[in-house]
């Protein structure tokens, strides 16, 4: 096919006029997609096409097995050219799936891409009405009729291009954030990494070894942390919080609060003399409460940045106004108790959210007695007890008496797969870390008897099943299929008896253990709620951030330019987190490498003549797009900062003067759809006399 001379030729030859605002003779093309059997299996597409053909303004109506296929797309282009179509209705899937595809067809045929209207026959019709085929077909006819009447009123719009700031903000300094930052920095982009705790490293830094290979977690993480700190393209903002996020893709303005460490980062060399001098001892949070640290501390020896931080809540000086032993000890005069929080403003092009996870904390009155029995611990506590740099130097002892436990039980699915507490999801890592930890215990103390109480073992990753086999065959770890019902303490021996049904034996069992480890699940991190609010990104029902598409856009969010990676999106292991970090980094790079980005023109406009400057729109807008200003000729009016407008229409709906119009959702367009929707009622009621209207579109359109 010779390349078309699009716009001009069309307007010369067929279309009488295409300029916006002028009334045009609608020439609508309707394209109905079978989507294989997704739609056609329920909806009678032939009937829908026949009905569509009869609608006023429709000049061509076609059906196709897969409209999104090359063939289907060519058919649209051809039909537009041959019939002088000036409005297109594609009745197929959700616009979130294929709207860009079909917009391109319009461009190829020489039409403005915004003259496309998509009717969702799949998600909103065939999939939800699969049991009622006739009614679904009737609904499809209705939806197409509505779509046609709207398409007749569509106006061409122009997309805008804006420059993209060449910098990425990474929120969260766990392994995901670290990897994403390193990847982007190596590609040559500026990266700001914001971490709320004093050091990067995240949860991975707390782990002992990783499954299934048994690599020491901190040994493989620490080199990355050091590399990150040294990289010239990365600015590390540890002990900092996101305060405010404004703007849009390519042009975010972010305020970061650098919390006061009370230690000047530039002067501190991490020698630790201050901590030696500090008289205050508190529970070590990094070691899950086992062991002690000082009120001036680094969380762990490999911390990056290796800068001390004063824990204000416990520091004697802040409590009593006296002490300052650390100040005396510091040779570099790095300690400054008068330090205050600092606000930093950043200009950002793209954002990666890597806020990670928190650990489920067993219930206070729960069956597993975590808060009552000393020898019931969580898996992360076990990690610290097994860790060579942990409170026991890597010797597994039980908390009650410091003795080596001879019998250890793991209880799986604590806080996961539990409808009672609302965590229906599987945390994906607990099976494997329990298996991995039982192997480590066996390596430390080969005589230990280990039992894993499980519901299902999920060993689905590369090398996972092999490890599962190894611990059963070579290490003799016992697997009991059943959820423990009751734990009882022998106060003398401090041992715990677990009662559970071994469901595969169909018998109730009672076994005694010295140490019980609860394989606690993963929760969205505490701070992620606030981050989600600041960024305007959504969460799934489980509370983790929602991806734009579960298969094809796994690290995108619904907001352009913001990506999510790692456990912030859902529980996952380290390889998956790293893979997502890399995916998010390359997505950011893709946007920034283009230097410019196209912004959808589906925003709102304000009619200044009608606007009375009441400011309601300013109050209603979730994005801060409307602003009031004083006109030179007098009077206050509202105007829209288009770059901030998401086109949600909240202001348009709330404006008492009807001064605000949402593009592609004008009153005229929406009402014509509504009238078309209601037209079916008169078709159905047989008692209505007179010709059955095919839709009010007739008078509306002409």
């Amino acid at each position: 096919m010779p390349s078309p001379a699009p716009h001009e030729r069309e307007s010369e030859d067929v279309t009488p006029s295409e300029s916006p605002g002028e009334s045009k003779q609608p020439r609508i093309g309707v394209f109905i997609c079978h989507c294989g059997s997704n739609i056609a299996g329920v909806v009678d597409c032939g009937k829908v096409r026949d009905e569509a053909e009869k609608l006023p303004g429709v000049v061509v109506a076609k059906e196709n097995k897969y409209t999104c296929s090359d063939l289907g797309q060519e058919e649209i282009v051809k039909a537009i050219r041959e019939n002088g179509v000036n409005g297109v209705v594609v009745a197929a899937c959700s616009p979130r799936m294929h709207e860009p595809t079909f917009r391109n067809c319009l461009v190829e045929a020489g039409l403005n891409p915004y003259l496309l209207h998509m009717v969702n026959l799949r998600e909103q019709c065939s999939w939800v009405h699969s049991q009622e085929k006739d009614a679904a077909t009737q609904k499809a006819v209705d939806l197409v009729r509505m779509g046609v009447s709207k398409a007749a009123k569509l106006e061409p719009l122009e997309a805008r291009q804006v420059p993209v700031e060449q910098a990425t903000l990474v929120i969260g300094g766990g392994v995901t954030g670290i990897q994403a930052a390193l990847d982007l920095a190596q590609m040559g982009f500026k990266v700001y990494l914001v971490e709320s705790s004093p050091s990067i490293g995240g949860r991975m830094a707390q782990l002992d070894k990783t499954f299934p290979t048994g690599d020491c977690a901190i040994c493989i993480l620490a080199p990355k942390m050091v590399e990150l700190a040294r990289h010239p393209n990365i600015e590390l903002l540890a002990y900092s919080e996101i305060e405010e996020v404004k703007g849009y893709i390519g042009n975010y303005e972010v305020k970061v609060r650098r919390k006061a460490r009370y230690v000047v980062e530039d002067k501190c060399v991490g020698c630790g003399l201050c901590a030696e001098a500090c008289p205050v001892k508190v529970d070590n949070v990094f070691d899950m409460g086992f062991g002690k640290r000082k009120a001036i501390y680094v969380p762990f020896p490999q911390a990056v940045p290796l800068k001390y931080t004063i824990d204000k809540e416990n520091c004697l000086f802040f409590k009593t106004g006296k002490c300052k032993l650390c100040v005396k000890a510091c040779a570099n005069e790095a300690i400054d108790h008068k330090m205050e929080d600092e606000l930093v403003e950043l200009k950002i092009g793209t954002i990666i959210v890597a806020t990670g996870f928190d650990i489920y904390v067993p219930m206070k009155k729960g069956v597993y007695k975590y808060w009552e029995y000393e020898n019931v611990i969580t898996a992360l506590e076990l990690e610290r007890l097994l860790n060579a740099s942990g409170p026991t130097g890597g010797h597994l002892v039980r908390p009650s008496d410091g003795k080596i436990p001879k019998r250890v039980a793991f209880i799986q699915c604590v806080g996961s797969r539990n409808k009672k507490i609302g965590n229906n999801y599987c945390s994906r890592v607990c099976c494997m870390y329990a298996i991995k930890n039982s192997q480590i215990i066996k390596e430390h103390e080969p005589e230990t008897a280990i039992a894993v109480y499980y519901n299902d073992i999920r060993a689905f990753g590369k090398g996972f099943e092999e490890l599962y086999h190894r611990v059963r065959e070579d290490y003799g770890v016992e697997f009991i299929r059943g959820r423990p019902a009751k734990l009882t303490l022998d106060p003398e021996k401090q041992s715990i008896t677990i009662r559970a049904e071994e469901t595969l034996l169909n018998k109730i069992t009672e076994r005694e253990f010295d140490l019980v480890v609860l394989s606690t699940g993963l929760l969205p991190s505490d701070g992620s709620k606030n981050i989600g609010k600041l960024l305007g990104i959504q969460t799934s029902p489980d509370g983790f951030f929602m991806e734009a598409h579960p298969k094809l856009r796994p690290v995108d969010t619904a907001v352009d330019g913001i990506f999510v990676a790692g456990c912030a999106q859902g529980p996952k292991d380290i390889p998956d987190s790293v893979a997502q970090a890399k995916a998010a980094a390359s997505s950011c790079a893709g946007i920034m490498a283009g230097k410019k980005v196209e912004i959808e023109p589906l925003t709102v406009t304000i009619d200044e003549e009608l606007c009375v400057g009441c400011g309601l729109c300013e109050d209603m807008c979730p994005y801060g797009a409307p602003e009031l200003y004083d006109r030179e000729e007098g009077g206050t009016k509202a105007r829209i900062v288009e770059a901030l407008c998401h086109g949600c229409g909240t202001c348009a709906a709330s404006c008492p003067q009807k001064a605000i119009t949402a593009r592609q959702f004008t009153d005229d367009q929406v009402f014509s759809e509504l009238v078309s929707a209601l037209a079916r009622g008169s078709c159905r009621n047989g008692d209505q006399k007179g010709p059955v209207p095919d839709g009010p579109a007739e008078e509306e359109v002409s």
């Binding site: 699915c413 409808k419 059943g482 959820r483 423990p484 009751k486 559970a500 049904e501 469901t503």
Partner: protein, 192 residues
Amino acid sequence: MGEAEKTFLSGLHEKLVEEKVIDESQLEPGFAKQIQKYGGKDVMTCLQCGNCTGVCPISLKIDYKTRSIIKFCQFGLKKYTLATRWVCATCYRCYEHCPADINPAEVMIALRHIAIREGVIPPFIKVAATNLVRYGQTVKPDQEIEKIRTELGLGEVPTKAPEYSRVLREISVLVHASKYDSLVGIEEEVKL
């Protein structure tokens, strides 16, 4: 107590047929639907973790596995479920502990509904139903109970009170109207 134990535990003969292979012919299609109809609405949600068996006070005394009864239901092994003993006390401990938020006690009640309609009725049900119609309560009043009542300061069961016969009549009307009398076979007891 000997009387009660006999009534509650011995009535139903366990007729568990030990099959070597369970084939299609032994399965009742749509059995789960039937259970749902009688109130055991979440029977298919069970993941077989066995927590319910572990917490069941009955299962520690006799061979009664809540989880395995639910599995029979899911599988459609109706005849196995009909042979289970009616020992669930509906204490709801299983419900309290179930991580899938199922109420197994509701399933047990549904199974009784089905069993009764299949004509599998433990003798003690007939006794209790007869007592209900005759005395307005499922346990027959006797001297021993009266003695305990007196000790507790509760007074006699007011069988001699004038309203008592009216109450009995109302019970009979309800039992008859709900067809409970014909279901458990106590028609001759109901006098209207």
